[in-house]
């Protein structure tokens, strides 16, 4: 109604709503154009495989991966009855429990040490972050030598101290721990670098002010460093947790899931199911379960984290 009322006054009146709509559409097209490369890449390598996995998880397949018989949710029922899958779930959870706190704690200590302003600290920063540049395969080979039952350094040290040699990768009680240790070592580089970056972005005035107030080292650590670092810690926690659930390389290289399936982590189990046993249906079902677990964990983390994390 208003538009009509205005028309006599403005002879060359413009239809504003129409103009705005036009602009919005052209903006949308421009935006999508900018996103197109990502949309294409994600589509081909992420969204399509994801859809296909969900589809496959409802079927039995032949050994080429083509669906043959529709079985509905039977694949899911089957894997939850399989002791192997439950075992690998348990191993994965234990593995995450070892590696996530281990990685963060070690990296945090190293980052706090490397954040001191000392002559030659750059050398230590380089050393501590260097594992980031080493591929999982290379690192695994390196650790395989360390873990070697007879010529490995670890066993030599253990024997030199008067203990009995440990079957690091062959003893079911030790294997998961050994893989965890090597994983922590591999993760440290990245985590250390992120945490160091977080530490360096804390305003030095805060520490100076605390110095004048008479705060001691650990008081400052507890009341300033940790709270100010919480967004970074939260990020690192999320990333390492997801990484822990997706671990594959070091298992494949070090233990191949053995001994007695102790280190058969969930991704390795999916790999075996799909590419050794050619059971693409059940493998897909396992993958979906893994996806749901990670999704839920991340959601819970964000819900809990929001209360504890202080964003600037």
């Amino acid at each position: 109604m208003n538009e009509i009322a205005y028309q006599p006054e403005f002879q060359t009146s413009v239809n504003f709503t129409k103009e705005k709509k036009k602009q919005r559409i052209s903006n949308l097209i421009k935006g999508i154009l900018f996103l197109l490369p990502s949309i294409l890449l994600f589509g081909v390598f992420l969204f399509y495989p994801m859809g296909k996995t969900i589809y496959l998880s409802f079927f039995l397949t032949d050994n080429r991966g083509d669906p043959t018989v529709f079985v509905g949710l039977e694949n899911y029922v089957k894997i939850f009855q399989s002791s192997n899958f439950l075992q690998s779930l348990k191993s994965t959870l234990l593995f995450a429990l070892f590696t996530v706190p281990g990685t963060i704690l070690v990296s945090l200590v190293l980052a706090i040490l490397a954040n001191e302003k000392l002559r030659g600290i750059g050398v230590f920063r380089t050393i501590f972050s260097s594992t980031m540049g080493i591929s999982v395969a290379a690192a695994s080979v390196f650790w395989m030598f360390l873990f070697h039952p007879t010529i490995g350094w670890l066993n030599r040290i253990v024997e030199a101290m008067g203990f009995e040699a440990v079957g690091w990768l062959t003893d079911p009680d030790w294997a998961l721990l050994s893989v965890s240790i090597s994983t922590i070592w591999m993760n440290i580089g990245f985590t250390f670098l992120i945490l160091l970056g977080g530490l360096q972005s804390i305003d030095s005035y805060l520490y100076e002010s605390a110095d004048i107030d008479g705060a001691g080292y650990f008081y400052k650590l507890r009341r300033i460093t940790i709270p100010m670092l919480s967004p970074t810690l939260f990020f690192v926690l999320t990333v390492t947790l997801i990484n822990a659930f997706q671990t594959f390389g070091q298992v494949d290289m070090l233990t191949r899931g053995g001994p007695q399936n102790e280190t058969n982590l969930i991704v390795y189990s999916i790999y075996q199911e799909a590419f050794m046993n050619y059971q693409f249906g059940t493998a897909s079902a396992q993958a979906i379960i893994l996806f749901i677990i990670i999704l839920l964990l991340t959601l819970v983390q964000f819900k809990l984290g929001e209360r504890k994390v202080h964003y600037q």
């Binding site: 008479g214 100010m228 919480s230 202080h310």
Partner: protein
């Protein structure tokens, strides 16, 4: 007793260029001492050395007659307000104020008592549960002050605490800080680059430039008898008008040809110097009347401030500013009569910048007349 005493304090980085060069001064108990200077003059470094946040390269720092060079900041019994306030963003106002007391493990009851007292004094009682993010600039400033007051340290250091506030709030906080300092009897060392802050707040002012002390004195002394050209042009707003002059037959002649007659007594001390610069404050270039007009000057710009008028004249290569009380209807390009009295002129040695002869002190009566 001297609250703080610096003896030949120097600071250099990597044993090369010295940032501060042989600084010596002393501050009395309960004094409001202002360090002023342009950026890069070393004033903040000096303050941080007093606080113990920077190493002292050489020299001696004494507090209450005890050498404190080797003491960490917490043992120097002082508090500090930083330029950006250094509030802990993850803590509430209350926790921010109590941070230091908790660190020193002060008794819980005593903590609460001091907190309430300080919050009351600073008008923060209603804001105690807020985080710094939800405070305005002025409120943050007050929290920073409260944090330093609550520690009950006898010496308080401030590093440009008002530079993040807008002009109005700054004027207000100047008064607040000064009042607080008097009320608590604090010894205050206050760093600023703003000469107005220095003039209005300080009991005594130290002017620093390039790591060297230019002058120490009361604000009025600095204004009336600046020790050198740097202090003369740094203190006072609008800036003092400076021009190089030649001496000829009991007259001083400016480069542009402007002449001023001098009495013999005033002339004598100038004769020994080869190059002389004269300085005259803006309020000493008076509007000329029939009797006392000495010169006609061309106006190049007029600034109406309401209660006073700033006129800019072109005098040779220099621009001079005059501050006239009241509202003057003058347009740029006009020639206006002015009255310049030689007794209001200070003279400096151009080569060294050192003051030769200050202007005559204005008596109270004259102040009324202007």
């Amino acid at each position: 007793m001297k609250a703080v005493e610096c003896i030949d304090i120097s600071k250099s980085y990597d044993k090369q260029k010295s940032v501060l060069d042989q600084i010596s001064f002393s501050i009395e108990e309960g004094e409001f001492y202002v360090l002023v200077g342009p950026s890069g003059s070393g004033k903040s470094t000096l303050l941080r050395m007093i606080a113990g946040l920077e190493e002292i390269s050489s020299g001696m720092l004494r507090m209450n007659d005890k050498v404190v060079n080797h003491l960490p900041p917490k043992d120097r019994k002082l508090s500090m307000v930083f330029q950006n306030y250094a509030l802990y963003p993850h803590l509430t106002v209350e926790q921010n104020i109590l941070f230091g007391l908790r660190a020193k493990k002060v008794d819980k009851k005593e903590q609460q008592k001091r907190l309430l007292e300080t919050a009351e004094m600073m008008g923060l009682t209603d804001l105690l549960k807020r985080k710094p993010k939800h405070l305005s600039g002025g409120q943050r400033q007050r929290v920073a002050l409260a944090r330093s007051v609550v520690s009950r340290s006898p010496i308080c250091l401030m590093d440009e605490p008002l530079s993040n506030l807008d002009a109005k709030l700054r004027a207000h906080m100047r008064v607040e800080i000064r009042r607080l300092q008097r009320k608590l009897g604090l010894t205050m060392i206050y760093v600023t680059h703003d000469q107005i802050e220095a003039m209005t707040m300080g009991d005594r002012i130290m002017v620093l430039n390039d790591g060297k002390i230019q002058q120490i004195g009361e604000p009025i002394t600095l204004y009336n008898e600046p020790a050198n050209l740097f202090v003369a042009s740094f203190i006072g707003s609008p800036k003092i008008n400076l021009s190089k002059v030649n001496l000829l037959d009991q007259k001083i002649i400016l480069e542009c040809g402007l002449e001023l007659a001098l009495e013999k007594g005033d002339l004598l001390p100038l004769l020994t110097y080869k190059n002389v610069t004269m300085g005259i404050r803006a309020e000493h270039i008076l509007p000329g009347t029939h009797e006392n007009t000495t010169h006609l000057l061309e106006v190049v710009n007029v600034e109406q401030l309401g209660n006073e008028t700033l006129l800019t004249f072109e005098v040779g290569k220099e621009l001079w500013t005059a501050k006239w009380l009241g509202q003057w209807k003058v347009k740029a390009g006009e020639y206006v009569p002015v009255s310049i009295s030689t007794k209001n002129i200070s003279f400096f040695d151009t080569d060294t910048g050192v003051l030769i002869k200050p202007c005559m002190p204005t008596t109270e009566q004259e102040v009324v007349l202007i």
